[in-house]
């Protein structure tokens, strides 16, 4: 097994620095350049969603859960795409999928996505995406 060497990861550090820099710059620019009208709603920590003031034990609207679960399910289903994406088109020694099967498996993936789409349309038809 290869010994662990931090040096191999230096691109990540560069990336990290870049990201942090961008975020800080963007926030600073917005603060400096943008107009500042302070309405009560904008004063709140979260602008959308729940009213954060009050007892933590109050009831949540069930629709939040619904959206969350919908997101979770579709999000997790995409998990199946990762192995395919990572493995299907490797060449040489690392190839796990015989080249002849690439086409058929691609069709399978399409069918999988179509099934997800059916689920999506089903949710849509059921009115899940309408807030009220």
């Amino acid at each position: 097994m290869q010994s662990f060497d931090l040096a191999t990861y230096y691109p990540i550090f560069i990336f990290l620095v870049f990201v942090l820099g961008f975020a800080v710059t963007a926030m600073a620019m917005a603060h400096l350049v943008g107009p500042a009208r302070k309405t009560p709603v904008k004063q709140m920590p979260y602008e959308s969603g729940m009213d954060p003031v009050g007892d933590a034990r109050q009831h949540f609207d069930v629709k939040f859960y619904l959206i969350a679960i919908l997101f979770l399910v579709f999000d997790v289903e995409l998990l199946f795409l990762y192995p395919w994406a990572a493995m299907a088109y490797r060449e040489g020694n690392e190839a796990l999928l015989p080249a002849e099967l690439r086409g058929p498996v691609f069709v399978v993936v399409l069918v999988f996505l179509a099934t997800l789409a059916i689920g999506y349309v089903y949710a849509w038809r059921k009115g899940v995406f309408q807030w009220r």
Partner: protein
């Protein structure tokens, strides 16, 4: 420092399993019970992934066993699907019982 071996992972899997089982049997809260179940599932997942990583072929060479990984993926996805259904069931349960404590459900017994 001792290297981490398969046994460590198996021990972790077993511990997760036992934690999950205990959680399942002791929690009154439906969500808690569900968490216990997730622990059990993930204990199994740890086993799968660990086996997939550590198992050797008969000649002792490291081999990449894809089944364990795939199995783990499927378990994760199914756990998500089950969580979705759990939410529906638990919410309904809440609507009827005004609590998510499952020990209030004892209409059906005997």
């Amino acid at each position: 420092m001792t290297p981490i071996t398969l046994n460590h992972y198996l021990a972790l899997g077993a511990v997760l399993f036992v934690c999950g089982v205990l959680c399942m049997a002791t929690k009154r809260n439906a969500i808690g019970v569900l968490m216990g179940v997730e622990l059990v599932l993930n204990g199994a997942n740890i086993n799968f992934v660990a086996f997939a990583y550590y198992l050797r072929d008969p000649q002792g060479n490291a081999v990449f066993l894809v089944e364990g990984q795939v199995f783990a993926l499927f378990v994760i996805v199914l756990a998500a699907a089950e969580a979705a259904i759990a939410l529906a069931i638990v919410l309904n349960f809440y609507n009827n019982h005004l609590t998510v404590d499952v020990d209030t459900a004892e209409e059906l017994k005997g």
